[in-house]
């Protein structure tokens, strides 16, 4: 694996650790804030005296639906949502650098590589054709890190399927698609660019 990707992998693992510890800290703080000040309403029974005891079932319901419980759930839920968004949206820095430099390297400086949120890259070749590259940090249940999916723009060609197969790809809805691992990215991007040129109607 490339050195940059190894760094990115280590960063990613660190990131998970940091997020886990942050969740634990924030969880304890919100827990403390919400539950040491008394449950909403319940702690404020003014005159305990000989008043009638509250219905057990309804007071249980009050505890469950109290502001504090909801607040705690919302706070923890928000943390998880933010983390999920973060790991959906961003690649670790070194991995981005690796991807960009590989794409730029093989396609030349005239190709435009745009980064989009969601770990995606949009590439526009010199001749105006585009294809997308999306990165997956980790495939569940395998040892593979940082694999890419290449998807070309729609191409009108009778021969598309044959051309795609001859370059190691397949077609879905007039698009050339394929999954490549990080060490294949360089060469298979080249093949994809070549396949797109062959399939494109002569301009």
């Amino acid at each position: 694996m490339d050195k940059l990707l190894q760094e990115a992998k280590a960063l990613y693992k660190d990131r998970i650790r940091i997020v886990l510890s942050a969740i634990i800290i924030v969880f304890s703080i919100t827990f403390f804030l919400y539950y040491t000040l008394g449950l909403a309403g319940l702690g404020l029974v003014e005159n305990p005296g000989p008043a009638q005891p509250p219905e057990p079932s309804s007071s249980g319901l009050m505890v469950m639906a109290s502001f504090n419980n909801l607040g705690l759930i919302v706070a923890v839920g928000l943390l998880v949502v933010v983390y999920k968004f973060w790991s959906w949206a961003f690649l670790p820095g070194p991995a981005t650098l690796y991807t960009l430099s590989v794409l730029k390297g093989i396609l030349g400086s005239n190709a435009v590589v745009k980064q989009a949120i969601g770990k995606r890259f949009k590439v526009m070749l010199e001749n105006g054709m585009t294809f997308g590259v999306s990165c997956q940090i980790r495939i569940e249940g395998t040892e593979e890190w940082f694999s890419y999916r290449l998807v070309s723009a729609e191409i009108e060609s009778d021969n598309l399927r044959n051309i795609a197969l001859r370059h190691g790809f397949s077609t879905i809805d007039k698009r050339i698609v394929g999954n490549v691992s990080n060490d294949e990215l360089h060469h298979r991007t080249l093949l994809l660019a070549k396949a797109m040129m062959m399939a494109a109607p002569a301009v």
């Binding site: 495939i139 569940e140 249940g141 395998t142 040892e143 593979e144 694999s147 044959n162 197969l165 001859r166 370059h167 190691g168 790809f169 397949s170 698609v177 394929g178 999954n179 691992s181 060490d183 294949e184 060469h187 298979r188 080249l190 093949l191």
Partner: protein, 117 residues
Amino acid sequence: MERGTNDASVYELVQLMASLNDTRRAILLALAHIYPRSVSGVQLSRLIGYSGKSRSLYRGVISHLKENEMIQIDQLTPKLYAIRVNNEHPLLSVLVDLCRSHGSHAQKVYLKALEEE
């Protein structure tokens, strides 16, 4: 003419094989040599010297090869798959032909490895 189209296919085949990583290349070469035999996932991972679990081989590699129609998978039972190279593929049929005409020695090695349990 015949010679010319043949060369073009061989050129494309070399390009294709060069673009794949070690694991995928090893799988295609092994399967092309033993074609038309098919192997199970466990046999395949042993055949190519894969150190991980055969299940992770399936998820990361074999399913992608299948998507790109380089190999065919027949499900014999829920847990047993028969994997073989896709001879309908325009380039891999060339590879299979090459292995048939020049690869008899390598084929013996592969088949021997399959027989040993």
